[in-house]
Symmetry: C2
DNA sequence: ATCGCTTTTGCAAGCGTGTGCAAATGCTGC
DNA sequence: GCAGCATTTGCACACGCTTGCAAAAGCGAT
């Protein structure tokens, strides 16, 4: 029951009394078309409600204008913030975002990338999971750009944007030490992604360097509930830590709530806490969490800039600095 | 510098020793192709890394498989939750989501819809703002389905999914009254969207019916910060309310934090609070907020089901029930 | 082998657009 | 009026796919 097809350039041409090429050129920036012709075409297009068919255009130009965003757990504060930034910046340069949700199942990311190929996306930006090498190669071979955000992968070709997780973790150890904390702990999820592990290692190593002990606990996935469980585990030990670095702000929120409610611990007096991501909730007065900011804005800028860049694939590795946002969950400062 | 083009059906056909049609049919569910032929095609396709070009397919079939999601403030908990649900369900039925971000500027939604038309999206789902009537007509005339979620609009044609905001607000008045509250207040943003206003009116009307006074305060947009300001305004009055219904959970979070921290008010002992949306944070122990659940799952199901439905546009109006999730921010229960 | 039937296959037209090329047009200066 | 040039225009092909149609192939029964 397809009522009526969309207006085509042909119809606009007829109404404007020009050839179809003229219509095409009118909507192609930088094409040669006389001002008067353009005006008449625009008028006819306006009247008929004509919109260039980007499917056909993409077919011809070999450039769809689509960028595929591959991400899991979209509803998570950090992810949705990044997503929002990316879609906005992409729109600003005339591209459009295709959103593909992945889950934890095997091959989820690969399936997403295949979808990207089917729609001949100009690029794919991967924010979760890791694609199979063969699929990655397939994308690159066909000129599809690839961006990996916070997914450390060795293969060259894609642009990889990462944070200085390892060094950041060391900085929080310093802060804890300066606050007079002696028994440090790291609360992590079991996800085991490179960024999370880098934070863990950076923290443990830095603590060791200062001659402090650092307990590590891992549980579940990276969410509020896991943070509560981690609090259970860490705060019931007899050598209860007096400082906890949570791998993620969400973990930190769960941790703090459990610490205060179930253990009546006062933060930061009896326990210093730090997180990572600087999600919006970290600034809420209930948490007032000292944390590292994901430079979401810069990440998106870099990604989009690289996609826009026509020179052949450049150095392809960007290391960004995670700024420590100082709030009230660590003493001193 | 487009290295090499993607594999085409032609190349697969040659390798498999069949015609191009056979390849096409192999990838068209329900098409007539002999098992042996299909096998050989699949083998060749696999070997060459062939993926059907959906741009071309969409061009022919007049059905792109793209659904356009039009939304603002993606990074907000409720919006991102809905977004996540929708993309997942769409993927499940073989469609792909195109995400278009809108802002507060005039014509933002119209521009988004034009983008949807350019890509010949099969449907658009609007979660914020309202399109111009002429654009709506343009979409409908060309067979593009339209779904409005929580955007009350009068024009027929689109599917409109709404909640029983007005009635829900009445139920919370009952709950407040049962808790012994006498001075009711409604904390709203200035956004003035139909859903928000329906909650406000439902609340005020129900209060009146019970012979209770209901103060209304509006400020800023619907976020945490606005909630804090609203607390300032409402809690400094001499006839300080003893129950507040916040139009949104985000407002409620800001409100509660301000109430506790700046005014040392204990919830729910001295003040009952309710919200709307049931975002994840509402269940965090710091808030433990009694609130109405947006049936995100049902909304997404209904939307997708309607899109899948081939029968010509049906009744096109769905009213869903917002369940009251009882937690600790209202006395009694 | 022949017929009648069903299943499978290839041909070719078409979807709406971009663009190289050659023809047409307009303009300037004599 | 005309040569010389720059600008604008139209033609026609290509992009990769689907699908109606008719030809071909398979197959069981006579």
């Amino acid at each position: 029951m397809t009522s009526k097809l969309y207006i085509s350039a042909q119809e606009v041409a007829e109404r404007a009394g020009v050839s179809r090429s003229a219509v095409s050129r009118t909507f192609t920036p930088g094409a040669s078309v006389a001002p008067e012709t353009r005006r008449r075409v625009m008028e006819a297009a306006e009247a008929l409600g004509y919109q260039v068919n980007h499917l056909a255009r993409g077919l011809m130009r070999n450039e769809s204008g689509i960028v595929c965003l591959i991400v899991s757990e979209v509803a998570t504060p950090y992810r949705s913030a990044l997503l929002s930034m990316l879609t906005q910046k992409l729109q600003n340069v005339g591209k459009v975002a295709m959103l593909v949700n992945t889950d934890r199942s095997d091959g989820s990311v690969d399936r997403a990338l295949k979808q990207a190929i089917r729609y001949r996306a100009d690029a794919s930006i991967i924010m979760s999971g890791l694609p199979d090498k063969s699929i990655t190669q397939l994308c690159l071979k066909n000129g599809q750009r690839l961006v990996l955000i916070n997914r450390d992968d060795d293969q060259a070709g894609p642009l990889r944007i990462n944070l200085d997780d390892y060094e950041a973790a060391a900085r929080v150890v310093t802060a804890f030490a300066r606050a007079g904390c002696r028994r440090l702990a790291f609360a992590n999820s079991q996800a085991g992604t490179p960024s999370l592990m880098a934070r863990e290692h950076g923290f443990v190593d830095a603590a060791k360097r200062l001659g402090l002990e650092a307990i590590v606990e891992r549980y579940g996935w990276t969410g509020y509930g896991a943070g509560q469980v981690l609090a259970q585990r860490l705060l019931t030990r007899q050598d209860r830590p007096d400082a906890v670095f949570c791998a993620t702000d969400l973990l930190a929120c769960g941790f703090m709530d459990a610490a205060r409610r179930q253990f009546s611990i006062s933060i930061p007096d009896q326990l210093c806490v730090a997180g990572f991501d600087d999600i919006e909730q970290a600034s809420w007065t209930s948490y007032d969490l000292t944390t590292f900011a994901q430079p979401v804005d810069v990440i998106a800028n870099e990604a989009v800039r690289w996609l826009e860049d026509n020179r052949p694939q450049q150095p392809t590795r960007i290391q960004l600095h995670a700024n420590l946002v100082w709030r009230g969950s660590i003493r001193g400062g």
